[in-house]
């Protein structure tokens, strides 16, 4: 038994999986992570995951874009080389707005998505860290750290009771490296 690293409860239904999380938590068994093929609403509250702060990052990136666009246009059209267009003012703010808006969106989108990739460790070629291959297909998987939670049979029982279709013991943390 000592080789087991993770105990996986594989559920066929998201509601049963949520039930499984409750059961484990009632028995003070800590959950390592949950892998699902689709987003499950309300799960982050159960697992005590804080609200994402990515919106703050998005705002900061966006406002950076606005400022960069304004600075660029102001430098080019007002400071560095004023073009006399029928004697009209060089500092024509309304004309600057379309590009300021576009660069706001561009910086916001790229900044936010790259932050997201960085914070969740997503990048091209990263070895997928998958515990159960069906967790991206039709199974909702609860992973419990076997070393931290000694009573394996209790965990099995709780997961089965909640409706787990399958209980797996992973001797390696991730099975997707081979």
């Amino acid at each position: 038994m000592s080789d087991i690293k993770y105990i996986l409860g594989s559920f066929g239904d998201p509601d049963e999986m949520m039930h499984g999380i409750e059961k484990l938590q009632e028995n003070n068994i800590s959950i390592y992570d949950v892998y699902t093929p689709m987003p499950i609403h309300g799960i982050e509250a159960k697992l005590g995951i804080k609200r994402s702060r990515i919106d703050i990052a998005a705002f900061c990136f966006g406002i950076t874009g606005t400022c960069c666009a304004f600075a660029l246009i102001y430098f080019c059209a007002v400071i560095d080389w004023r073009v006399n267009i029928g004697g009209k003012p060089s500092f024509a703010l309304p004309d600057f707005i379309p590009i300021m808006f576009e660069l706001t969106v561009l910086f916001c989108a790229f900044g936010m998505v790259l932050t997201y990739y960085a914070s969740t460790h997503l990048f091209p070629g990263r070895a997928p860290r998958v515990m159960d291959l069906r967790a991206t297909d039709d199974r909702f998987v609860i992973a419990v750290d076997a070393k931290d939670n000694a009573a394996h049979t209790v965990i099995d029982g709780l997961l089965k009771e909640a409706g787990a279709l399958e209980i797996k013991y992973n001797e390696r943390k991730y099975i997707s490296y081979e």
């Binding site: 379309p98 660069l103 998958v130």
Partner: protein, 490 residues
């Protein structure tokens, strides 16, 4: 997500019984995981030949310059900018479906957003090639960027809508690509975990190591929502700026303040028509009737009636304002449009965009796949003529009658346009083979609440209002993928 049931009054978004999470994956990945059939090959070969024609025609233009096109000194913009605006407009439906409908919580978008976004990207590629090739010296295309140079530095003219357009189109393309690809990650991971060997390795690289853990999903949803929030004004701004290419000029017929909303409505109109053209065929060939249902088709048709009518009102308003302005040049531009030498293109536009979409008010036509498909093509023909009318008829009779001219396309003009359609379909057909054409994870979200079987269960439990149930069953009559006899018993 599934703590409560959805109202029985809402039509189901997934039909069929015995739909499970596994079946959704199997059904959607069928074209990706199997060898293509004959229909695909025929379509692909025809489109690839078109794409080849495009390569030839664009190369010919690059080599010989835009003298290869039928332009003259009066008509300096014709099929090129017509094609550009047409393709950008088509692209807009993808963003509208993925972003605007997400903000409005329209769940029916979940099964059409992926292919519509793919369509956006391919359409913008087609549009962008027009921009580059109409420059005449495409190897100097980087001159539109504000780069330091040895002429001063002489910067680009930031007061010019053409420079705004460069920023708008490139932002639009890259943000759409980002939105689309981020949404694809979980689905690529699904393919990866089902594949073996080299296939797994390839999909593994492109899946960015997606695992589907709680935090990844939580942030994924936050990112999607914010991207939708910024893409919504983006898509409106892009076509607004495209329309400003005309509206900020002083050419009678172009110099109108109605252009931005009128162009945006037209873009959505033609984009939805193109989505229907593609999806009605894809649905049948790929056997996706349970996911892209008659409800989806009807909803898109309703958007087409709405935006088509907005476009119609815009045409009439333009005419009225031309008369009301009291400016004889403005008045002449519009009289010339409808009765001058290009009267046929004006009336083609009026018929295809304003009159024929009104047929969709009839339920029978709206729910007929054949009629919808034909109308969707008619709409896009009409939208092409709209741009042609705006561009060419406003230019061809300019300030001095001695310089009045007509525009006649050369074989290169025609080949670039026909070829760009080939390029578009080639890319779309390749997309169907290598990536899931429906967002798998998003459709799975609907299974427990908005599917026919979930609603069937609700009815069988017997707590629903009888009148509502009757109304619901009546609404199922239009579905071609629902077995009516199952409901006869209830």
């Amino acid at each position: 997500m599934s703590g409560h049931n959805e109202s029985i009054l809402r039509e189901p978004l997934i039909t069929g019984d015995n739909i499970t999470y596994a079946k959704i994956t199997d059904d959607i990945l069928m074209p990706v995981e199997n060898k293509p059939n004959k229909a695909w090959w025929i379509g692909f070969i025809v489109s690839a030949l078109g794409a080849l024609l495009w390569v030839v025609a664009v190369s010919y233009t690059f080599w010989n310059g835009i003298g290869a096109w039928g332009l003259n000194k009066t008509v300096g913009w014709a099929w090129d900018i017509t094609g550009f605006v047409w393709w950008v407009g088509i692209g807009h439906a993808g963003t509208l479906i993925s972003a605007v409908l997400l903000l409005f919580r329209q769940n029916w978008r979940n099964s059409i957003n992926r292919s519509a976004e793919a369509m956006t990207i391919f359409a913008v590629i087609c549009a962008a090639t027009y921009v580059v090739s109409h420059m005449g010296r495409p190897w100097l295309a980087y001159w539109v960027l504000p780069l330091p140079n040895q002429f001063g530095s002489l910067w680009v003219n930031f007061n010019s809508p053409l420079v705004w357009d460069m920023f708008a189109i490139s932002t639009y393309f890259s943000v759409s690509l980002l939105f689309w690809y981020t949404g694809l990650l979980p689905d690529i991971a699904t393919i990866r975990d089902r594949a073996v060997g080299t296939r797994r390795k390839i999909y593994s690289i492109f899946s960015f190591g997606w695992s589907g853990s709680v935090k990844t999903w939580q942030r994924f949803e936050a990112v999607s929502l914010i991207l939708a929030g910024i893409s919504t004004p983006l898509v409106l701004s892009v076509h607004t700026i495209v329309s400003m290419d005309f509206a900020t000029s002083v050419i009678p017929g172009w110099h109108t303040t109605i252009f931005p909303p009128y162009f945006v409505a037209g873009a959505i109109f033609s984009g939805f028509a193109m989505v229907l053209t593609l999806l009605l065929v894809a649905r049948k060939v790929l056997g996706l009737e349970n996911y892209i249902t008659m409800f989806h088709i009807e909803s898109m048709n309703k958007i087409i009636i709405l935006t088509g009518s907005i476009v119609g009102v815009a045409y009439l308003t333009e005419f009225f304002i031309a008369w009301y302005s009291g400016s004889e040049y403005e008045q002449y531009a519009f009289i010339n449009r409808s009765t001058g030498p290009y009267w046929w293109s004006y009336w083609m536009m009026m018929t295809c965009n304003v009159i024929s979409p009104q047929l969709l008010w009839f339920k029978k036509i709206r729910l007929s796949i054949k009629a919808t498909w034909i109308l969707s093509i008619v709409v896009n023909v009409g939208m092409w003529f709209e741009r042609f009318v705006i561009i060419v008829t406003s230019l061809h009779r300019d300030y001095i009658p001695s310089s009045w001219a007509m525009f006649y396309p050369t074989w290169v003009d025609i080949s670039v346009f026909v070829g760009s359609i080939g390029l578009f379909f080639t890319l779309f057909l390749l997309f169907l083979r290598v990536l899931p054409s429906i967002a798998i994870a998003e459709v799975k979200l609907l299974l427990k609440t908005a599917s026919e079987q979930a609603k069937m269960k609700q009815i069988k439990e017997g707590h629903e209002n009888k009148e509502y149930v009757a109304e619901y069953i009546e609404s199922l009559e239009k579905f071609d993928s629902v077995k009516q006899e199952d409901y006869a018993k209830i």
